[in-house]
């Protein structure tokens, strides 16, 4: 599969936007400038970027509590995301949702979700709507290894398989659900194996290799769009940061995994890997990549400025938006 230069640049930009955004969010939350629970996805950028690069604008995604990356990769605006996470009126949800509930319908972002496993039936239903209406839009559904132990995971895969729905189930397997290592609570070591329980293809991919993710995703999307049904893609990856920003203050550093383990994954950074690949294969020169970084820094600065200057919602707005 030959990936166009535009696609490569798009994926790199996605990864940089995620990395920059998440790093900033971590710092802001640590400094208590942001309320609530914040989960960041540093180290997992390639799966979000690779999957979303295989989608078009009318395709849809569902996401999780750790959702910023997916939303950004699907085209989410950093300024409105940042403002939402600040709880400001200028945010995507007018401050009503926050980090775990960002939605952008115009981009097919059906939402982050605070409930583990809740996105799977929603994604399945989104694909069902496309099928009933006779449209060929595809829905990609992000979730974690932990979520694959929820019943909704299996109920969704079964339904999607029986009805041949155009949905891609993307398991970002980072080896942990909160502070619990996957191997202590999950009966299998590869989530992809579970696809067989529902007669759909299950593919394992190096989740830190954006090119591989993109290739596998493109095939799954083509299959789905052609009416051939769902695919389960397992992206093996790792989160560099804690489950939730601030956890080390409660649990201590390295309470449930070793420094060595974390460091070994930092060596597999998906961004550096991509940069190296570009250099080795002479695909994109370093200057062009650097320009993306610069642009992203600027975008992020503007997003923060936007968020800070946006107003907090007025108390009177609390009763708006319950019913249509």
């Amino acid at each position: 599969m030959d990936i166009t230069k535009d696609k490569l640049l798009e994926m790199y930009r996605s990864m940089q936007r995620i990395r920059h955004f998440e790093s900033k969010i971590r710092d802001l939350a640590t400094a208590n400038e942001i309320p609530g629970f914040v989960h960041v996805s540093i180290g997992e950028e390639a799966s979000a970027a690779g999957i979303c690069a295989a989608l078009r604008k009318t395709d849809r995604i569902t996401s999780t509590h750790r959702g910023h990356g997916h939303l950004i990769a699907k085209g989410g605006r950093l300024d409105k995301m940042m403002a939402e996470i600040y709880g400001k009126r200028g945010g995507y949800c007018k401050g009503k949702g926050g980090s775990m509930h960002i939605v952008d319908f115009s981009l097919g972002i059906l939402g982050a979700n605070g409930i583990v496993g809740a996105g799977l039936p929603i994604a399945t239903g989104s694909a069902l709507a496309a099928q009933v209406a006779g449209r060929d839009d595809v829905t990609a559904c992000f979730f974690g290894d932990g979520a694959s132990n929820e019943g909704t995971f299996h109920e969704s895969l079964n339904l999607a398989s029986v009805w041949k729905l155009p949905v891609i189930f993307v398991c970002e397997n980072n080896g942990f659900g909160e502070f619990t290592p996957m191997r202590t609570v999950t009966s299998v070591s590869d989530i992809a194996v579970r696809a067989r329980a529902h007669d759909l293809p299950g593919v394992i991919v190096d989740g830190n290799d954006v090119l591989e993710v993109f290739k596998v995703a493109s095939e799954a999307v083509a299959r789905a769009r052609a009416g051939e049904g769902p695919t389960l893609i397992e992206c093996k990856t790792y989160r560099w940061e804690g489950h939730v920003v601030g956890e080390a203050a409660i649990l201590g550093e390295y309470a449930y995994r070793s420094k060595e383990e974390v460091d070994s994954w930092k060596l597999k950074c998906p961004l550096i890997r991509f940069e190296k690949w570009c250099a080795e294969n002479k695909k994109i020169d370093a200057g062009e990549l650097q320009r993306i970084v610069t642009e992203t820094e600027k975008e992020l600065d503007e997003a923060i400025a936007f968020a800070r200057s946006s107003e907090l919602p007025a108390a009177s707005e609390v009763t708006d938006d319950v019913f249509a």
Partner: protein, 323 residues
């Protein structure tokens, strides 16, 4: 005009609305063959893409209804017995009800849920729940509990056209009740109570299957010159507070009759409203006639003892009237 029963009323409403709006589709367990009859024949009219038997996976398919609504469809989702909502509570309470608000109003979720509730003769505890009380405290849902075929048809049609998640409850023992239904596009708006019988001495606010019971009691007591007003909220959310309070203002006495439980039930919810906003019009305590606070038992004499009968409505009225 022909007499129509509940099941036929539902079937007409579904058929008319599915014809009217090609974005609608129906799904649920065994909707094709229609265990309760309400969805019978829809498969022939609308085909297998719009009438779908689901696996026995309530969380999965209720959640799929939510996703389909977010993606522009207008699902009608049947959950057989209302007790099975328990298997999909997250999808209803934490997803369907909240996604619009959490999105700052971006999402609209036009979903109609249908389910059979109530004690229907030996269905026992796990199939006889009056589940709506547990949705009352979930902002974002609308709750419809029709007491007659005509209301069922008109309310169900309104529910399907509504842009919010609406749950329409059907009492399992009312299936054979028959009445004439107005011809044409018969719509009953959500949020309008119905005075099922006007009266002066006591207001009985009756929900669902309690309405016919209350009417029979009113019929009986009128012979003793006790004039009972029977009012049916029809929808619990939105609730026609004005109509209920006006009735109490007129009669100064109120009985609330509901098949749900006493603790935390819909009767408590309405009693609290009146105790707060209608207090000055009350001449007597607010009486509730509800199921006993036990799981609904299987054996017929026990079931009868557990759920509120006409005798208990009558006793409550007499108590308030001092007779």
């Amino acid at each position: 005009m022909p007499q129509t029963n509940f099941i036929q009323a539902i079937n007409q409403a579904l058929s008319e609305e599915m014809r009217r709006d090609p974005n609608t589709f129906l799904m649920g367990e065994d909707v094709v063959l229609a265990a309760f009859g309400a969805t019978k024949g829809l498969i022939d009219k609308f085909g297998p893409s719009r009438v779908r038997n689901t696996p026995i996976s309530e969380a999965g398919f209720v959640g799929a209804a939510v996703g389909a609504a977010m993606a522009g469809a207008r699902p009608i989702c049947e959950v057989e017995f209302a007790s099975f909502f328990y298997c999909a509570f997250d999808q209803v309470c934490n997803q369907a009800a909240k996604l619009r608000y959490m999105s700052g109003g971006q999402a609209s979720l036009p979903i109609t849920f249908r389910a059979v509730y109530g004690a229907m003769g030996g269905a026992a505890a796990q199939h006889s729940e009056t589940v709506y009380a547990q949705f009352l405290s979930v902002p974002g849902l609308k709750l419809v509990v029709p007491s007659s075929p005509s209301d069922m048809k008109g309310l169900l049609k309104s529910a399907i056209r509504d842009d919010n998640p609406v749950i329409v409850f059907e009492h399992g023992a009312l299936g054979r009740l028959r009445e004439e239904i107005p011809e044409g596009d018969h719509l009953v708006p959500l949020g309008k109570a119905a005075i099922k019988r006007a009266g002066d001495n006591v207001t009985v606010i009756a929900i669902g299957a309690m309405v016919p019971k209350a009417l029979r009691v009113a019929d009986k007591l009128v012979k003793e010159s006790i004039s009972v007003e029977v009012i049916d909220p029809r929808t619990l959310i939105p609730l026609d507070e004005t109509a209920l309070l006006e009735s109490v203002e007129k009669t100064n006495r109120v009985v609330i009759a509901d098949e749900g439980h006493l603790r935390g039930g819909a009767a408590a919810d309405i009693a609290a409203l009146i105790a707060e906003q209608g207090f000055d019009h009350l001449d007597a305590p607010i009486k509730r006639v509800t199921a006993l606070d036990v799981p609904i038992p299987f054996s017929p004499p026990l079931e009868k003892a557990a759920i509120p009968g006409e005798d208990r409505i009558e006793a409550a009225i007499r108590d308030l009237m001092g007779r």
